[in-house]
Structure formats: structure tokens, C-alpha cells
Amino acid sequence: MKLHEYQSKFLFREFGIPIPNGQVAKTPDEAAAIASQLGVPVVVKAQVHVGGRGKAGGVKLARDAEEARRYAADILGMDIKGLVVQQVLVDPGADIQQEIYLAITNDRGAGSPLIMSSLEGGMDIEELNRSRPDAIIREHIDPILGLNGFQTTHIASAMGLPRAHWRSFGNILRSLYRCYIESDAELAEINPLVITGEGELLAVDGKVIIDDNALFRQPKLAAQRDDSGEPESESLAREAGISYIKLDGQIGCMVNGAGLAMTTMDMTKLYGDADRIGPANFLDIGGGASPEQVAAALRIILSDAKVQCVLINIFGGITRCDEVADGILTAYNEVKPSVPMVIRLQGTNASEGNAIISQAQIPNIISAQTLTQAAQLAVAAVKERA
């Protein structure tokens, strides 16, 4: 779960990391009020869960409250890569002498936390990683022991940080590590961590991503979820406990298992791409889906008006195909989809399941034997309706 910049920075502050004393505004008037209260030039920053807001015009420097109001009016409601800006952070402008990159992330390969730090902060870290990987100091942390003091010294020393800042850098790094651990973060990033003209360190921008699987023990963070930028169907799916991601294609997929669900998407694209046909969504109904879940999944898929065909691909392991077939019929009768449904049931009790489907004799339902055939039939069905 991503936190907004302001949520990330307020979280940093709880762990003792110095941040600019800005506030969040939802209207231009609020932005002006914050700016005049701060009494200095401010930065008005769009709060959206997407990168590249600066290039999109979502970050503006305002010299006074009036300008802050004007820029906030510009930015609020702006569409950045499909997300509508609903909040801006109004921060006092910082006197930037040096920009540092500092992040802690899960290193999948090493199976341990990884600190990345660079004096070349402010820029896109992926770009820096490609162009000048040596400019980034990398330090793995023992996940059981945690961050040692000597590691902070090593990082400060190896990145070439001036000695005057070692102590405050060490304190910030320790705080960031505590924040990362105690918040169950996948990523806790400060970019840039600024050395100001007064020689203070200040976290001017921040990004925190929380491990979804740990939200059960992070109720305060879970409550900060902002779904506003997310398609409604995804929110509905999350509430129903279904793993669903909306995409741009025409074939609504319902599959058991994440890997097979991706594969099914891939197959619709493999056979449909020439005709610009592809998957409308990722959807994994999980193991042992009940008729109710199948119905919920079908409703979510069909809530996407672009869907021209539904492809149901079930390989029964724990999941019994006859039960899925029952679920499909129940769901069909509830939802009454107007689009065709290609159904492929394989594995445990597949023949029973296929028999149930064929006995129902619904014209809208097309049976398939293999995944390949199912994908091809779904593509054909979409083409037919075009």
C-alpha cells in the first residue's frame, strides 16, 4: 500500500526525522492560508500515487499566498496519468545546498533489507542506477540483528558525505530504519534528503510503501489508505477479498491462481494482439472458490463496460470444477451477462463440471478444452461483436 508524500513525511516525523513544516490543502483557499501562515515562499505539490508529477506540472514554487492559491487551483483537479489530484501539500521552500538520496528497501535476492544512499539525490534513482551505479552506496542489513552503528558510519564515509553531517545523517538513517521496520515498509525512501544552507538535514520528499500482508498489524497505516485514484472495481474486489486489477482490453478473465491468471491474460494477448484484443483485467479467485465468490468476481468483471467477452479458466486442484460450474450458473442467473462467456474447466472433477455447463444449455456460454483453445475462442468472440 502506497502512502502519499505527505503521509510518508508525517510518518518520518513520528520517528524523529526532520521534515518541512508544511500542511495539506484540499482547496485553493486552504493552500493560501497555509502559505500565509508559513510566511515564506512555498512549494505546492500534487499528492497522487503516480510518478512524474513534476514534469506533469504538479509541483510549483509560489512566492506568496496569492500565488499559492493560484497554483493550488491549477493543480487540484488536474489529471496526472489518469489520476485526479485531490490534495496538495504546501511546504515551505528549502534552501538546498546538496541533495542526498536515502532509501531502505527489501532486497528480494539477498532476502534482507538494503540501504541505498547517494550524494546524487533529487534525480530519478533508477536513472542514476543505470548511468552511474557506483554513485550509489549499497549496504545490506542482517534482518535479525538490524542496523549496526558502524554501518551508518560506513555509508556516510563511503558516499563522501562531509564529516560535519555524519552525526545527523546517522540519526536520520537510524530513524528511517526504525520507521521501515516498525511500519512493515517495503520501501522507505527520502529523495531528496537535503542539506540546507544552515547545514541542517531535511527530508524534502518521501515515499513509503507498506507491505500489504502486514497491514493486519499496522492499523494506523492501513487507515491512511487513499483509494480515490483507484478504479472503483478494484476497491470492490479488495473488499470482496478477490485479487483484481483493471486493464484496458476486452476479455474479462476469471482464473484460479495468480500465475495461471497472468498466463491466461498473456494468451488472450498472444492470440488477440494482432486485432488489438487483449485482457480486460487480472483476476484470481483463489483456491476453493465458492459460488458466491464466483458471482462476485463475475459482477466485478462485468462492471467494466469495455468487456466484450468473459474467459473463465479453472484448473482444479483444491478447487473442484463441478463446484465452480455450479458457481458459474448461479452467478450467470444472478448477473445475466449480455456478453459471451468462454469456459474452460480442467483438473479435479473437470468432466462433471463440463457436464453441468453443457446441460445448462445457455447459448451465451462456449466450452473449451484447453487454455489455448479458450483464448482463441474468446478472441474470436470479441472480433465477432466488433
Binding site: G257, A258, G347, T348, L371
Partner: protein, 285 residues
């Protein structure tokens, strides 16, 4: 031969009195796996399908001499259950549980490595050596004994491929589901190395997906250390970047972990990569 498990493996099921644990314990027994007991704290002294239930892994291992454990307990308890198995001296621990926080797994994997226990998973379907034993949830019907080793991040995709192989008359030495989480106990390379050294395995099928770089590392290994042919499929070519596709690890992030880069690396390493899982049997023929 086979890797990890065979007909002599002595298996404990942690959470055997639970719904999922009990269900799969029965299926494993039916398949011929030597399930010698189960563990559920507070239920020691009960019996399950003729095998004893223990309160602790130490007691269970002492009594049964089990060498293998299947962890089926919920995510909140699974990290402790895995460590308990390692502490009790179990050499192979297979964890089905999904939704375990990554922070917990980083500790658990480190702990198991220090104690010299092999962890497979979490969030994996387990291991099956067709005709001998299965530890996990892989359905019996998806594979016959044979000489192709299968290693996969995904459950049902593996069944799909196993089933296609079976229909094509191709048998399997061992299926290993390593799981789709970001931090796992056993990697592609670990399993490839074992297949390379396993006399019963002649070819290998590798089923990967987007996210992380395990398939890239595997490609390196295939290039530098493998003599046996590898066929592969990578799921998620059509997945958009920045979105987590079901599995906690299945995300293309910062331009890293895309299907295309993995496919290129595998092809460059000499693996034959299918664009359709049902084409895997052709590549193994």
C-alpha cells in the same frame, strides 16, 4: 531418484488438525506419502487418521524421526512454525501459507539458513515426486513418473503444464513449487542445481513470472553450470508495470522484473522459451 522427497520421506504436518492441513494430509496419505504425525499446540495426544498429534515439533521429531515438515498454519503463526521446525532439526520444511509479511520471511529464511534447514516456499504448492510422494497441495492427477524436473513460482500454472506434459506422454522426476513471494527459502538456482545433479532428471521445465530477478540469475546458472536442456515459460508478458499481479512478488518495478527481459535472458542462456504453457511439452520432446 528424485530431489527433496521420495517414498521414504517421513513427513509431519504442522496444523494437521486445521481444515486445510487435515484435508491435504489425507490427500498426501492417499498418494502414498509417509505422513508420520502432526503438530498442533494444545492438541498433543490426539490422533489424526491413525497418526499421532503432538504439541511441539521437538516432541514430534523425537518420536517420529521425521525429516520433512509441511507448514499449513495461518500467516500470523507460520513464521514461528517454520522456525520451530528448523529448531527441531527438520531438514526440509515446505510452507504453503500465503500472505506472510516479508519482514517476517527475511528473518525466517536467515534463521533456517543458519540452522541448515532447507525451506521451500512460503506461498507455494509444495513438492511432488510422482509415483512416490507429495508434500503439499499439488493434485495427484497432474503428473506421472518420468525424467523431466519441473520448478515453478506458481501453483495452477504448474498443474497446467504438468497436465499438458502428461497428455503428451512426458513424465516428471520431481515438481518443485518455490512460491511467488518476494523472499523465499529456495530459489530457481537451488533447484536447477539439484536437478542438474539428479541422475533421474534429464530435462528441466522452468516456470517463472514477472517480478524480481530470480529468472535472470537462473539464466546465468543455466548458461554457466547446466548441461541438461531447459524449457521455460514466463507468465505476465501482458501485465502492466507497477501493479502487483496476485503474487506478492509479481510486480514489474522501476523497469525491473519484466517478462521480456527474463525471456531474453533465458533464451540467451540457451533455454527454449515457450510463449504458451501448453507448448512446453513440444519443447521437451
Amino acid at each position: 531418484m528424485s530431489i527433496f522427497i521420495d517414498r521414504n520421506s517421513l513427513v509431519l504436518v504442522q496444523g494437521i488438525t486445521g481444515r486445510q492441513g487435515g484435508f491435504h494430509a489425507r490427500l498426501m496419505m492417499a498418494y502414498g506419502t509417509k505422513v508420520v504425525g502432526g503438530v498442533t499446540p494444545g492438541k498433543g495426544g490426539e490422533w489424526f487418521e491413525g497418526v499421532p498429534v503432538f504439541d511441539t515439533m521437538r516432541a514430534a521429531v523425537r518420536t517420529t524421526n521425521a525429516d520433512t515438515s509441511l507448514v499449513t498454519v495461518p500467516a500470523r503463526f507460520a513464521p514461528d512454525a517454520i522456525m520451530e521446525a528448523a529448531d527441531a532439526g527438520v531438514k526440509l520444511i515446505i510452507c504453503l501459507t500465503e500472505h506472510i509479511p516479508v519482514a517476517d520471511m527475511m528473518k525466517v529464511v536467515t534463521f533456517c539458513q543458519r540452522l541448515g534447514s532447507r525451506l521451500i516456499g512460503p506461498n507455494c504448492p509444495g513438492v511432488m515426486t510422482p509415483g512416490q510422494a507429495k508434500v503439499g497441495i499439488i493434485p495427484a492427477m497432474v503428473a506421472e513418473p518420468g525424467n523431466v524436473g519441473v520448478v515453478s513460482k506458481s501453483g495452477t500454472l504448474t498443474y497446467e503444464v504438468g497436465f499438458a506434459m502428461k497428455n503428451a506422454g512426458i513424465g516428471i522426476s520431481t515438481i518443485v513449487g518455490i512460491g511467488g513471494d518476494p523472499v523465499i527459502g529456495t530459489t530457481f538456482v537451488d533447484v536447477l542445481e539439484m536437478f542438474e545433479n539428479d541422475p533421474e532428471t534429464e530435462k528441466v521445465a522452468l516456470l517463472g513470472e514477472i517480478g524480481g530477478s530470480a529468472e535472470i540469475v537462473a539464466a546465468d546458472f543455466i548458461k554457466n553450470a547446466m548441461t541438461k536442456p531447459v524449457a521455460a515459460f514466463i507468465a505476465g508478458r501482458s501485465a502492466p508495470p507497477g501493479k502487483r499481479m496476485g503474487h506478492a512478488g509479481a510486480i514489474v518495478d522501476g523497469g525491473e522484473g519484466s517478462a521480456d527481459e527474463k525471456i531474453q535472458a533465458l533464451e540467451a542462456a540457451g533455454a527454449r522459451v515457450a510463449n504458451n504453457p501448453e507448448a512446453i511439452p513440444n519443447l521437451l520432446a
